[in-house]
């Protein structure tokens, strides 16, 4: 029998109703205060306006820095063990040193292995020893750096109060930041462009910067430029670093904008001791390898808090406090890509997309009715149902609708009738073979199914590839295309089937109007 069982009809209708139910939020005038599971579809930044930034975490810089540290450790190990060496060098991702004597070389290699976990120490042909991270350790390190960066970026952006920002990893070492509604990302870019590494160092009062430039610089000191244009000779080792900060706030002191800060207990203790022992000396406050100020220590600061002075404006004091509060980035970030769409353009795109969608829909419907008459009308129901299901699934999944996504919807409208065309054409053939109305209708659905499945699954392969390789708007297109293919397979096969079966039962036609 061609008639569908009651339970199957019930399930089909229930799915359709659910689809309609989940599209409702999209048409409500007031979309706020809706429950989390009942939301309108997300609009991509290209539709609602906003800014999209692609950031590159410069992990290589950190690895190079690490190599510098390892170089220091290697030197120390060699000195401690009194091993003669030549050509100690830190490269981009390895440290090499030449040790002629075989015994000392073996001794050194054993000691190098203990410097840090995840180091690969190998001997090259001419007695050179190469120290580098293993691939596993290197990857872990990179992942950790990027994870930390994402966390810090999130904190900084949260401080700005942007609504619903999206911060995600892309690939291995990139971060995508999406800021809906933001029209001018310049300020965000300035904030993200600073690593904000803060540290306090004693100023080396025995060496002037002029001496230092002439090479009279002890190993414990280094020369650092100052924000005032001068330069300072400071101790290599920091008294205390920004990692120990727990809070920073903009404040005023004697009518000047300053940043007040507070250390955790370890930081407070170190800071207290250093200030107690060095009264009268100068303490340099270094931010991103630049001395902001170097006040003279007036007396011990024991409470674990203090202020940073410098020639701040209210705004720059605010910014610095924000950066210090949210922590330092482990690696510098570079902006690779920026896309900002104004709200006006987004609204225009939605309008154009909607108009194209309605016109496309009407054209397809008119065409189908012109080609198939009554059955064309049945298809119309399926096409509308497909639109509802698509929008319903997109809303339910919390997927993002982009401008190319709208194109995907329109395209699906055109392609969705394909299954019905296949079914109706098959019915026509069966009628020609002399089958009864009922048999022909049933054979139409049965015989066309294999073709429908094969043809749609191959299109899905293309959609999956698009999803995998695409980013942003293109990915949005792949999502709508995929959902559209799946929902259209459902509506054009089951929904039309229910309608046609009911129609045959009710009117008992002697021939199919196709």
């Amino acid at each position: 029998m061609y008639k569908l069982s009651k339970s199957r009809i019930f399930i089909i209708i229930a799915i359709c109703l659910l689809g309609i139910f989940f599209t409702i939020p999209n048409f409500l005038p007031n979309k706020d205060n809706l429950p989390k599971w009942w939301q309108p579809v997300n609009l991509g930044l290209d539709l609602q306006g906003g800014s999209n930034l692609l950031l590159q975490v410069q992990v290589d810089d950190v690895i190079k820095e690490r190599m510098g540290t390892i170089e220091d450790s290697v030197r120390q190990v060699l000195r401690e063990n009194k091993i003669r060496y030549q050509n100690l060098r830190a490269g981009e991702n390895d440290v090499t040193v030449k040790i002629e004597n075989l015994n000392s070389r073996n001794k050194a290699i054993a000691a190098f292995r203990k410097i840090e976990d995840g180091l690969n120490v190998e001997e090259l042909a001419d007695g050179t020893v190469r120290i580098a991270y293993t691939d596993v350790a290197l990857n872990q390190l990179k992942l950790k750096i990027v994870d930390q960066s994402i966390e810090i970026v999130r904190r900084r952006i949260d401080e700005l109060g942007t609504k619903e920002p999206v911060i995600q990893r892309q690939g291995v070492d990139r971060i995508v930041v999406q800021l809906p509604g933001l029209q001018n990302p310049e300020y965000v870019k300035t904030l993200l462009g600073k690593t904000a590494k803060l540290s306090f160092h004693m100023v080396d009062s025995n060496t002037t910067s002029a001496d230092a430039r002439r090479g009279k610089l002890s190993n414990a000191s280094r020369i650092v430029p100052g924000s005032d244009g001068g330069s300072y000779v400071i101790s290599r080792k920091p008294v205390v670093s920004g990692e120990n900060l727990i809070d920073a706030q903009p404040a005023f002191q004697e009518g000047e904008a300053v940043v007040s800060f507070k250390f955790d207990s370890i930081g407070g203790k170190k800071f207290g001791e250093a200030t107690k022992n060095n009264v009268g000396e100068r303490l340099a406050i270094v931010l991103d390898n630049e001395v902001i100020s170097a006040p003279t220590i007036q007396g011990a600061i024991l409470g674990g808090s203090g202020v940073i002075t410098g020639s701040f404006t209210v705004k720059s004091a605010n910014d610095l406090a924000l950066l210090l509060r949210s922590g330092a980035l482990p690696a510098p970030l570079e902006v690779l890509e920026e896309r900002t769409v104004g709200a006006g353009l987004g609204a225009d795109s939605i309008q154009a997309g909607t108009i194209a969608c309605v016109i496309g829909l009407v054209a397809v419907i008119v065409f189908m009715i012109a080609a198939y008459g009554l059955f064309g009308l049945f298809t119309t129901v399926a096409v509308f149902m497909n639109l509802f299901l698509m929008l319903g699934v997109l809303s339910l999944m919390g997927a993002t609708l982009t401008l190319p996504g709208i194109a995907g919807v329109i395209l699906t409208v055109g392609m969705a009738v394909d299954a019905n065309v296949l079914i109706f054409e098959r019915m026509r053939e069966e009628v020609k073979l002399g089958r009864s109305t009922r048999d022909a209708a049933e054979a139409g659905f049965r015989e066309a199914w294999g073709t429908i499945l094969d043809s749609n699954l191959t299109t899905l392969v293309a959609a999956f590839v698009l999803f995998y390789f695409g980013t942003g708007p293109v990915r949005g297109f792949a999502v709508t295309l995929t959902i559209g293919i799946l929902t259209s397979m459902f509506t054009s096969v089951t929904v039309t089937r229910v309608i046609i079966a009911t129609w045959i039962e009710r009117y008992k036609p002697t021939r199919l109007p196709i």
């Binding site: 392609m415 191959t458 299109t459």
Partner: protein
């Protein structure tokens, strides 16, 4: 009521009879496409070339000459201006600025903003650094290759290797001729264009699979019909479906091309073209090349493999 009943008429067209001509046309198109790609390259959008793109809108018509002169004074390389729509109040500013890094690009954007003043609405700003573009190009090519291979694998799995080869040739033909056309007319080639090309591939192979399905069915049904006649019959059997589906999808894409707005122009152009060429290739490339093989033998051998005892009765 049924205005288009002429479409649903049975046809008996000798599709394969013209195969020498269509081989020539397909082959020539591919050669020309490769020639254009080699000589004219593409009009890459900033997704691929890197650079600056801004869209602005003013209350009154924007004076392009004046703006161009002002922008030329900036040292940011070649700047191109293009009005959007017909009102003349919307302009797209593009600077390829390949030499500029992101910081310099940002500075350039600020300078352009200064020239525009505060009254102009800035509708879109895009900055793409040079290194991203090369990666995206590589990704685009890789995505297309993987899509073609993935689709062919699926068809191999569902049909026979000859069918997979036919579908693959059809896809390669469609993609090459389409990108050749984009090169010839120097149509803006952006990320969405790649999406359109892959969609085209999806549509084209959809059409091909429907044809293949019918060929396989007919191979089983008509055991003695000569292969060329059988291929012709199969295409004719489903020809009304090919036209109907092609036309509905075409209608939707044309709606997109006309009313979908400027941002989707190259996308919808590629789609419209893709439907035409996809329909052509599923008959004149993917089906015609099947005639290189003895399909019946393959199918029968396979069925023998499946049932070693043969069919009794």
């Amino acid at each position: 009521m049924k205005l288009f009943s002429w479409i649903t008429k049975d046809t008996n067209i000798d599709f394969l009879g013209t195969r020498k001509l269509t081989y020539f046309i397909s082959g020539l198109s591919i050669v020309l496409a490769i020639f254009f790609m080699a000589t004219k390259s593409f009009n890459y959008g900033i997704d691929f070339s890197g650079g600056i793109l801004m869209e602005i809108k003013d209350e009154q018509v924007i004076n392009l000459d004046k703006l161009r002169k002002e922008l030329d004074n900036l040292d940011i390389g070649e700047v191109s201006l293009q009005t959007i729509g017909e009102t003349g109040t919307e302009v797209m500013i593009r600077a390829q600025a390949q030499m500029l890094d992101e910081k310099e690009q940002m500075k350039a954007v600020n300078e352009i903003k200064k020239i525009l003043g505060n009254d102009v609405e800035i509708r879109r700003v895009e900055l793409v650094g040079p290194q991203v573009g090369d990666e995206l190009k590589k990704d685009g090519v890789l995505a297309s290759v993987i899509a073609v291979l993935g689709i062919s694998l699926y068809i191999w799995f569902r049909f026979e290797w000859q069918f997979a080869l036919g579908a693959m040739l059809g896809l390669v033909h469609d993609i090459l001729v389409t990108v050749g056309l984009l090169s010839l007319f120097q149509i803006d080639f952006s990320l969405t264009t790649v999406a359109a090309i892959l969609t085209l591939a999806g549509y084209s192979v959809n059409d091909t699979v429907v044809t293949y399905d019918r060929i396989r069915e007919n191979l089983r049904k008509y055991k003695t019909m000569p292969q060329i006649q059988l291929l012709n019959k199969s295409v004719n059997d489903i020809f009304s479906r090919t036209l109907l589906t092609g036309l509905t999808t075409l209608l939707a894409s044309i709606a997109l091309l006309i009313w979908g707005g400027d941002a989707l122009l190259s996308f919808s152009f590629t789609l419209v073209w893709g439907i035409l060429i996809g329909t052509y290739s599923s008959i004149y490339v993917s089906t015609v090349v099947l005639n290189w093989f003895d399909l019946r033998k393959t199918i029968e051998n396979k069925e023998k493999d499946v049932n070693p005892f043969g069919n009794v009765g």
